[in-house]
Every structure is written in C-alpha cells, then in structure tokens.
C-alpha cells in the first residue's frame, strides 16, 4: 500500500469522526476537554466560532456527530445499540455554565468597507452570513417577514425544547454586531431588491411551505385540519393556544414530533402519531421519538391515510389503509415499497389533524426572468461549493438551497456563502476555496505524562434528566430537558476518547520491538509484509472490516515489513507512545479550524517587487 500521507489535512480530520461528520466541522474533542476542565466560556467560544449557535444547537441539533462517534464502536455491551458521547448535550453544558463572554465577541467595525449585502430571511443561514461579514466591515441588511430574528429556530421549534431566552441571547450576539435587521418586511420581488444595488444577495428563506395531503374529505373538513409547520408557528406567535382533545398527527419527521408534543400541552389528551412507514424508518431523530413516547404519545405505523371522515362539515376522523413494507431490487436499486396487506381499513376518530408530511420550498417572489435558473423540481440551481446561483451575486443557503435539512447545515452553508461573498467583493476567484487551518502538536509532557487525560473512562452514557411530566405538560414554555449538571457533564465529557490526539508514527525511529503491538488494548497495530489494502485489512492482528475507516500505513521498515494501524477503534489512550522506547509513536493533537470569511480566506497577494 502507499504510505499514508499525514500531511494531507483530510487524513487526520477523518480520524476525528465527530468533526468530520459535522457540516460546520466543529472541533468537538477540543471543546469537550475544555468542558471537562470547567472552562465553559472557552468551550463556548470554540463552538461559537464554528457553529454560531452553541446554546440553540446544544438543545436542537440533529447531531450528525453522534452516530459517527468512535465511542459508539468500542463499547462491547452497547454493540447492538451504540451509545456515543452525548456531544450535543455537552455543548449545552458549555452554553449553560459559561461566564459572560460578551467581551470576547467581535466588536462592530470602526470602519465600514462600503459593501452592502442583503440577506433574505433571518434564520440560521442568514445570521451566519451576517456574523461572518459584519465584523469585516460589510453592511449587512437582514430582511424577515416576522417581527423577530431567528427564523424557524423560534417559529417552528417549540419553547419546551428551546426557551426564548436562549434564542434571544444568541441571535442578539449577532444583531449587536451592527446588523441592520428589517423586521416585518416581506421581500416579494427579487428584481426589485436587485435594483437596490446590493453587492450580493443571500437567500436564506428556508422551506416555508408545509406539504398538504390531498385525499377525500380534505376540503370538507378543512376547519380542523392544520398544516404542521404553520400551526407550530401560530403557536409560537401565540395565535393558537388550544386544540381538541383527540388529535392525530400525520407524518414521521421531527416536525411531527414537535406537533404531537405541542398538542399534549394545548389540551390534547388523546394524541397519536400515525405514520405510513415502519417505526424504524421514520425520519424523526430517535431521541425525539423517545421524547414523544415518554409523554404518552403512541406512534402507530404502517397506516396510509385514505380519507378524512366528516359529518356536517365537521371532521370526525381518518380512515387508513394497512400496509406492509416489501424490500425488492438489488444493489443500488434495492428499495422499499409499501403494499396493502389486504386487511380491512382502520378508522381513528379525532377532533383535529396536524399534517406534518414534509416541507417544500417556495420562491413565488423570484421572477423567472431575472436570469436565475431553476431545475425541474422548482429548486434554484445552486453550486454546492460556492453556494452561488446562476447569478453570481445571488447566493443561497439553508433549507432554501437544497431543500429541508437542519440548523447545522444552514450554518455550514452560511459560512461557505460568506466566503464567496467576501471573495466576490474583493474581486477574487470564488472557486478558489481557502484551506482549513491545521495544527499538529505533540502532547508529551513527561515520561508518562500527557497534556490530555488518556485514562479511558468505562462509564456508560449518562441520561439527560427530564423535568417532571406533570409540570411540563401543563405549561408549553417549561423546558423538558434540564441539561447535565456540571458533575454529570464532567463525567460524560470523560467518555470522549480524544480522537483528535493522533497517533503519529515516524518509521525511521522504529526498532520493531513489538511493544506497541503488545500494549494496544484494541489490537489496532500490526507489523506485517506489505500488500494491497484489501489483503492487508484481512491480515491484521484484528481484521479491519470497517471500510469507512482508513488504515495508517508506514513505508518499509528495516525488516522490510510495514506498520499498519487500523484507525477504526483506536482509543487514543497513547499507550503505544508510552511503550515506544524510541519515540517512533507520538501523540499529537490535530486541531483543524475551518477558515471563515475574512483576510484568511483570500488568496495571498503578490508583493510588488
């Protein structure tokens, strides 16, 4: 095999599974160590720089980092149901316990650079663009149809999951930088906005339209059938404060989970979620399903809605067809179909129905003749790297770019768009993207001393305590999760394997004494004859079956053999380096910071001779 090039930033980045999986590439182990050290403010700032909304994300993030977490692959007793480090909830620990960090935020610039940027929608994507650009001197105007900034963060996520103070605080940090926020202004023509002469326009208008369910009875019973996201935002606006006793929520995503739990708090006593697919195939995050079930909400599956039943113009219930999942096709074509079981239809009575079967994008305000290209599904054509539309000065991000995703993706899009806007305004090539800032530094402090805690905690994942149901179901504004207290937060932080502290191998120092092989608790290291990757993976001391994880391969050693290390389940305990008599192994911290908009993202200018 070709020796591994550890100089390429991606190699060690991939070893830090959580950071690699995070769309914004937040240096997770770095802030978890800070939390363990009680340095909550520092941990918060690491997050703030990277993902902009630590307190909000610490409660609501979709957590792509957690399924990726290495901890989930090393605990034998949880092999069936992996229990990663509670990364998301640790982020909240930092946000909840931090000191006042306001003096560490960027200051509004003393001098503006004369460039004007418009952001449409005040959701997470637009706010990220504003945060990245305003401190650089840009004048950023953010438009939103609502009186508050935050977008779906506050309109769609219910207060019992995300208190208003948290939103106000973190949105406030951004607005206080000197963003011009035009609340309650609805943009209904891109053409008109373009005519105002902005240097760039960023569209972060979200996926504002809830999909409807066009089945018999929809029109007749319309009065008690509500579109999920509209209903949720009406609840957030306090336009709606009650619902019928019997509620059916249709749909299996996170919006459906928010709908059913909100219903329980607004007078719904018999609330159920009914989904077409199987329980496992539901789109909702597992923990959100768990939260709903905890509140006594049954989730019924394999039922396809056929008709709304009604009497005298009043909704009486829904009839469902029973289906089962059939898997057919081969390879990539393998798919799941839902076919009727042939059993009798089932009818459920209800007073209200909440339809949460998906969201759509809507751009009625973009004239089709402004030169902005749309694809056949009605989505704008957007470059995945630069976030530009076919009009170079009009950029998209968040749900409006590629359809509904989540907050952390919106943040990542915002960072990318801000880089593009910055380069655009500086007259640079937008396609030339800045490389991340990478630092690799030895953690050795003494003969068996490292600057990180390398003793591996055997603790199981800690559960975040819930407030008593009796209290939370009575008041929609009472937050259900109470967050870890500092003591539990520390214990959970200790479960982190410090995957960013890398095992770095220097082949010319190795005397092939086998000490690292003998001590490695996970049998990661092998000295063997060279071969191609597939062959090598099978010949290691422990087979390397996880193909998504790389092999770290050295060049030929004195005996002609090579060192091959399977990164998959390495605990980063550093015992290989402690056992190494020659320092061929060293533990080095790999810190990768994404480069955001600003001088760092610009191409180095040639100095005049």
């Amino acid at each position: 095999m070709k020796p591994t090039d550890i100089g390429a930033p991606d190699y060690f980045h991939k070893v830090v599974d959580c950071q690699w999986a995070c769309p914004a590439h937040t240096p997770v182990p770095e802030y978890i160590r800070l939390i363990a050290a009680g340095r909550y403010g520092d941990a918060y700032m690491v997050n703030w720089h990277s993902n902009v909304f630590p307190g909000i994300l610490g409660r609501t993030c979709d957590r792509p980092c957690e399924p990726a977490c290495r901890r989930g692959r090393v605990e034998e007793r949880n092999a069936e149901k992996p229990e990663p480090v509670a990364i998301c909830r640790l982020k909240r620990v930092a946000a909840d316990n931090k000191e006042d960090i306001r003096d560490r935020l960027p200051k509004p610039p003393k001098q503006k650079n004369g460039k004007r940027i418009a952001c449409i929608g005040a959701g997470p994507a637009s706010l990220t663009v504003a945060r990245d650009l305003v401190p650089l001197g840009y004048h950023v105007t953010v438009y939103d149809q609502d009186p508050r900034a935050g977008g779906m963060i506050w309109s769609q996520i219910p207060r019992f999951r995300l208190p208003m103070e948290v939103i106000d605080e973190e949105v406030g940090y951004i607005l206080d930088l000197g963003v011009e926020f035009r609340a309650g202004v609805r943009i209904d023509s891109l053409k008109k906005l373009m005519a105002e002469g902005y240097d760039a326009i960023f569209v972060g208008s979200g996926a504002p339209r809830g999909r409807d369910l066009d089945i018999p009875g929809r029109k007749e019973a319309a009065a008690r059938i509500h579109i999920g996201i509209d209903w949720l935002s009406n609840v957030s606006f306090e336009h709606i404060n009650k619902i019928g006793k019997r509620v059916i929520v249709l749909g299996g995503g996170n919006t459906a989970m928010d709908c059913c739990r909100t219903s329980r708090r607004l007078g719904g006593e018999d609330v159920k979620v009914i989904v077409r697919s199987g329980y496992e195939a539901m789109k909702a995050s597992p923990w959100e399903k768990e939260d709903a079930v905890h509140e006594g909400i049954p989730i019924l599956n394999y039922l396809v809605p056929k008709a709304f039943t009604h009497e005298n113009g009043k909704l009486t219930g829904i009839t469902f067809e029973k289906v089962k999942a059939v898997y057919d096709g081969e390879g990539e074509k393998r798919g799941r179909r839902l076919v009727p079981t042939g059993e009798a239809d089932q009818h459920f009575e209800c007073d209200d129905v909440l339809v949460a079967v998906g969201q759509e994008n809507a751009f009625p305000w973009i004239e089709r003749d402004v030169g902005l290209q749309f694809d056949r599904s009605g989505m704008p054509v957007v470059d995945k790297v630069t976030m530009q539309s076919t009009l170079p000065h009009v950029l998209f991000g968040g749900d409006s770019a590629f359809g509904p995703k989540n907050i952390i993706w919106a943040v990542a899009h915002g960072h990318d768009a801000a880089i593009s806007i910055d380069k655009l305004c500086q007259g640079e090539d937008v396609r030339e993207r800045p490389s991340p800032l990478v630092n690799l530094m030895s953690q050795k402090m003494g003969i068996h001393e490292w600057s990180y805690d390398n003793d591996i905690s055997l603790a199981q994942r800690y559960k975040v305590p819930w407030r008593d149901k009796k209290v939370t179901l009575r008041d929609i504004k009472v937050e259900v999760e109470m967050g870890f207290d500092p003591k539990t937060g520390f214990a959970e932080a200790q479960r982190c394997l410090n995957c960013d502290v890398q095992t770095v191998f220097t082949s010319k120092l190795c005397i092939e004494c086998d000490a690292c092989v003998d001590i490695c608790p996970m049998d990661c290291i092998t000295f063997a004859g060279d071969g191609d990757e597939a062959d090598l993976r099978a010949r290691l001391n422990a087979p390397a079956r996880n193909l998504s994880q790389d092999l770290y391969v050295s060049d030929a050693l004195k005996t002609g053999r090579i060192m091959a290390k399977d990164e998959d389940v390495c605990l980063h305990c550093g015992l290989c380096a402690e056992r190494c008599p020659t320092g061929a192994w060293d533990m080095q911290k790999f810190l990768l910071d994404m480069t955001h908009a600003g001088p760092g993202c610009r191409s180095p200018k040639r100095k005049a001779a």
Partner: protein
C-alpha cells in the same frame, strides 16, 4: 513506562476460546519494565499461547527468581498461581511444587542472570532430573536491574553500552540443556512472535523438561551497535532451522509443502508436531548431530533459532520416581495411613 492500567475495552472481534476466555483475560498487571523491553513481548507470547491452548488460568503455576525477567510473571496470567522465589532458586521451588501437585502446568520464567549465574546449579539439576516444566530464559546478556554489566551469556567480544568488550567466554545454555538431557530444546527471539508462540505452545504440551532460550533485547543497556543481543544484530544473524507450523488439535496452517520440506514428529502421547524445514538436512530428533550443528553455526556467528531438539520418547521425573498418580493434596488419610497390615508388609520386605 506507564502506570496507566490498560483500558478494559477491547476490539469488537476479540474471540473467546473453548473455556470461555478472551486473550485479554490471560493478561496480568501493567508492566513496569522499560518501554520496548523484549520481556514484554515474551509475556504477550505466553498470553497468546495459553489462550490458544484453551488453558484454564487456575491450572498454571508460574515461578520465577529475581531480575527483570523474573518480574514478568506479574504481567501475564493474572489469574494463575505464582511464586517469586529467592535469586536463582526457581528450579528447586518448581521441582518441589511439581512433585507435590503433578496436575498443574509449570512455567518457570527466568533470565540469564538468574539462571546462568547464581542459579546455574539449580538450572542444571532441574533439567537433568527431567522435571515436567516449561523453562523459559529471557536472555538479554546483561544485568539490566544493576545497569547493564555483562551477564554470563554475553558473547565474548561483544561490547557494553560504554564500548568495553567482553573478555569472558559465554555460557551456552542451549548446549548445557542438550547435554543434561532436556527433551525439548528451542531458541527464539522476542521480536518474532510468529516463531515464539508455537514454540511455547508445543513446550507446554511436551511432557518432560522443555527449555526455551529466548533472546530478548534490553533496550536500556544492550541494544547498541557492538551488542550481539540487540534487535538489529539478532535480526541480521538469525538463522531459523525450522518453523513449527502445526500442533495436533490446533488450527492447521494450510500451506503447501514441497516433499522433503516437512518433518513430522509424533510425541510420546501421540501428539503430532509438524515442522517446516528451513535448513536442509536438519533433524531435530538426533541429539548428537544437533549439538554439532549448533557448535558449527555458533562458531560462524549465527544465532540458530527454531525447535532445535525434541525427544519423541520423553519422560519425566514422576515416571522416573514412580510416584503416586494423584496430587499430594488429594491424598486422604486412607492413602496416607494405610494401616498396620501394610506397615507389617513393608517391614517384612526390609528384613
């Protein structure tokens, strides 16, 4: 050097053996030897061999004397019996224990200082008597604990870390073991577990005195140019006469052999050992030829490794002494005090 216990987590594919243990269950306390010490590799090889042989840890007694090597029994088989004896006295303690309880597996672990200097007499007599044991000498040619003076096995002319050449003749423990009647004699290298693990496995299964000399570099005091017990020197001069590929009842290595490349040795109890020849015409069952061969190669500066000698018709001290079949702790009053009729019979026989 670490004082951090090895984490309990292990690879998801770590297998259990027939008696329900993983390889990790055969480990001991964390080693306090120098980082890179060959002895730690030998401990790992013993762990591997015992796991592969499905040995129940409580069936093993590990005995040692004094020295770096004699510390190692703490670092493997943490659930077995252990006895750390006086300097050089491991062989007598082992002999006594073996006579008292013949059912345990006896693992004597010693070093070149413990066995070739202060304990040379003990070593000689335990081998001569044919005690059923595995006697491993972790041989690094220096006194590591006292900062690297030459030991009795250091080669003449080899240099100390400070550049002084050794003027004494080395003590050849393999040659002594052969002369004294060891029925299983092997040499290996701590840096070659593929060779070492099967040799330990076969030695454990061998009945009689099995002696393994394992060259085990001392990274702190004897791993420099001029040393003949360094990683580099041993690798350069290692001449393996054979590879022990197959022990009956264990997983077979399915390799194709050209005719004449394989020696099969059936042992006393019928167990079969298959040796892949690396040196042509090397016959590990002919003691005289083996001794001659070893002398020749040693004179040429080579370190001959592999299974050097095996007596297929081995026997042990219990057989020689015609001792009782059961361990002494299982003998009850009835066997120990057979009564006056038996006493009379014995007395009559002596008249």
């Amino acid at each position: 050097m670490t004082y951090l216990a090895k984490p309990k987590l292990h690879h998801p594919t770590l297998a259990k053996n027939a008696v329900g243990y993983t390889r990790r269950d055969y480990e001991g306390a964390i080693s306090t030897l120098c980082a890179g010490c060959g002895h730690d590799s030998i401990s790992a090889a013993i762990v591997q061999a015992c796991w592969e042989l499905d040995i129940e840890p409580h069936r093993v007694a590990k005995l040692s004397g004094i020295g770096c090597s004699s510390k190692t029994p703490t670092y493997f088989l943490g659930n077995s019996h252990g006895f750390n004896s006086v300097h050089g006295r491991m062989p007598s303690v082992l002999t006594g224990a073996n006579l008292a309880n013949r059912e345990l597996i006896y693992l004597g672990v010693s070093g070149d200082g413990d066995s070739a200097s202060i304990g040379i007499g003990q070593f000689a007599h335990s081998v001569r008597r044919g005690v059923n044991m595995v006697y491993i000498v972790e041989n690094n040619g220096v006194y590591g604990l006292t900062k690297g003076q030459f030991s009795a096995t250091a080669d003449k002319g080899s240099k100390s870390k400070r550049g002084v050449a050794n003027t004494d003749e080395p003590l050849d423990m393999i040659g002594m073991a052969l002369l004294l009647g060891a029925t299983y004699v092997a040499r290996s290298f701590s840096g070659d577990k593929k060779q070492l693990v099967p040799l330990i496995s076969a030695a454990i299964q061998h009945r009689g005195a099995a002696f393994i000399d394992v060259v085990s570099p001392c990274v702190a005091f004897n791993n420099h140019p001029g040393s003949t017990k360094s990683y580099d020197y041993v690798r350069e001069h290692n001449e393996a006469v054979n590879r022990l590929d197959f022990i009956e009842g264990r997983d077979e290595i399915t390799a194709e052999y050209a005719p004449g490349q394989v020696v099969e040795v059936a042992q006393h109890d019928g167990a079969l050992l298959r040796l892949r020849k690396l040196a042509p015409d090397y016959d590990p069952t002919d003691r005289i030829k083996v001794m001659k061969y070893l002398q020749e190669r040693a004179a040429a500066g080579e370190v001959v490794t592999g299974l050097l000698y095996l007596d297929p018709a081995s026997s042990d001290l219990h057989e020689h002494l015609n001792t009782v079949e059961a361990p002494l702790n299982q003998l009850a009053e009835r066997e120990l005090c057979p009564g006056s009729v038996m006493l009379d019979r014995i007395n009559a026989a002596l008249r």
